[in-house]
């Protein structure tokens, strides 16, 4: 249904429930929806399963959500980074669960959820510990593992610009997981730096069509992506 524009990030995430699965865009800090994560921390929902490429950097964004004790489990490809100390401590003390998924499988499984694909045979990770116990099949002489969709109750993403129809354009490698996560969650919230009237974005350049976006909110400030960066 129609994309709505929330007055604040707090309003945009006001109805998140405990136990939700939240897809969080971004690759490291690029494309990370900082305002929305901060609002989610204020909103207070807990027992969350977070699906994202990483598990937080420094003390901001996902790391702050983790530090607030709101996350039960992280599904990601690369939790361990030089500044992932918040996650590291929680994980080592058994206070957060972890499912490690190869990065491309993470993206493709999210796409499958958004594209109505029930499961797919993937050649990545065959004969490795990350696919142990998963169903395998030989197709045309090659081995594949059966992978299932990852769907979210909520997706929080960041984009460069939106129009009032909810169409999004992204910027450089900050695009990363945004367009895919937007297809795969019941409620999709995007923070953007600017919202222009419908017709203000060239229809050929839309990377995330408005049909996928439920709520928009203007990010308070651009350049947040470098706060705490290393």
């Amino acid at each position: 249904m129609t994309t709505t524009i929330a007055a604040t990030a707090d309003e945009a995430v006001a109805d998140v429930e405990d136990g939700s699965t939240v897809l969080v865009g971004g690759f490291g800090l690029a494309g990370m929806p900082f305002d929305l994560i901060d609002a989610l921390i204020r909103q207070g929902a807990g027992e969350l399963t977070v699906v994202s490429n990483n598990a937080g950097n420094g003390d901001v964004g996902l790391a702050a959500l983790l530090a607030a004790g709101r996350v039960r489990k992280v599904v990601c490809s690369f939790p361990r980074q030089s500044d992932s100390y918040v996650f590291d401590e929680l994980y080592r003390s058994g206070r957060v669960g972890l499912e490690v998924v190869p990065q491309g499988n993470l993206a493709e499984r999210i796409r499958a959820a958004g594209a109505g694909i029930g499961a797919f045979y993937c050649p990545v990770g065959v004969d490795t510990s990350l696919t142990q116990g998963k169903e395998t099949r030989e197709i045309d002489g090659r081995s594949y593992v059966l992978e299932y969709p990852i769907k979210g109750d909520l997706a929080l993403i960041s984009a460069h610009r939106a129009d009032t129809a909810g169409n999004l354009v992204h910027r450089k490698t900050a695009r990363n997981f945004g367009p895919v996560m937007a297809t795969a969650a019941t409620t999709v919230v995007a923070q953007v730096t600017d919202i222009v009237p419908a017709g203000g974005i060239d229809p050929e350049t839309v990377a995330t069509p408005g049909i996928y976006v439920d709520r928009l909110v203007r990010a308070e400030a651009r350049g947040l992506t470098v706060r705490g960066a290393r």
Binding site: M1, G116, I117, T183, E204, V206, P209, I211
Partner: protein
């Protein structure tokens, strides 16, 4: 014409002081069933006419499976652009807020259940909502499915717009489809010239009739009609 009061009627509304709906009236009737703000795919043929009856202020966005959201009306004169057509290959226009995408993305959008409504024509619909609209079953016909099967599973609500009776008088709302299926138990609502019907696991519920009573239709249809 429809019952829009605060107290919904218990049974079907029988519009008997008139004839069955014309195609244009039916298109308008279906249009009223599409909520404001919906993302909608209108199938080739009669459903295309619904577009003219959607109020502009409702902000309904049309999807065409050949790769566009925000499709506008048919192109006329200088607007005709061979690179911009609908799924029926008819030149169309672009609305503000449109977007283009390739075929795999377009059908992922459908298959993933992101469209609110699609409206399709049909040869037959069964009491449980099976849809037959791609093949008459004639062994001499050249099979051609297009996006029909994708659409049948690809919207939250699948509406059928059709005449209730074929030219030979045979009902098109049936106990079991005789034509090859497009999709099983996928139709939410059947909108016809003689009435509006909701098929389902328990049978067909009549919501409205036009130019006929429920009793009249019971005589002409072989399906049980729930009221």
């Amino acid at each position: 014409m429809t019952a829009t009061g605060n107290t919904p009627p218990k049974g079907p509304v029988e519009h008997t002081g008139r004839g069955p709906l014309t195609t244009e009236e039916l298109a308008a009737r279906v249009a009223r069933d599409i909520p404001a703000g919906s993302y909608v795919n209108l199938g080739i043929g009669q459903p295309t006419r619904i577009a003219e009856h959607l109020p502009p202020e409702a902000g309904i966005v049309l999807h065409t499976e050949n790769g566009m959201l925000g499709m506008g009306p048919a192109a006329v004169g200088d607007e005709v652009d061979p690179d911009l057509t609908n799924a029926g290959k008819v030149p169309v226009t672009e609305m503000p807020g449109a977007s283009y995408f390739h075929h795999a993305d377009s059908f992922a959008m459908m298959r993933g259940g992101h469209l609110d409504v699609c409206v399709l024509g049909a040869f037959e619909v069964s009491a449980r909502g099976d849809l037959a609209n791609w093949h008459t079953g004639d062994p001499d016909a050249i099979p051609a499915v297009g996006g029909a099967m994708d659409l049948a599973v690809g919207a939250r609500r699948v509406l059928v717009m059709m005449k209730l009776f074929a030219r030979d008088g045979a009902p098109k709302l049936v106990s079991e489809c005789t034509c090859p299926l497009t999709g099983a138990a996928c139709v939410s609502l059947v909108c016809t010239d003689y009435g509006i019907f909701a098929p389902g696991p328990d049978g067909v519920r009549v919501l409205e009739t036009y130019g006929a009573t429920v009793a009249d239709l019971r005589e002409r249809l072989s399906v049980d009609l729930l009221t």
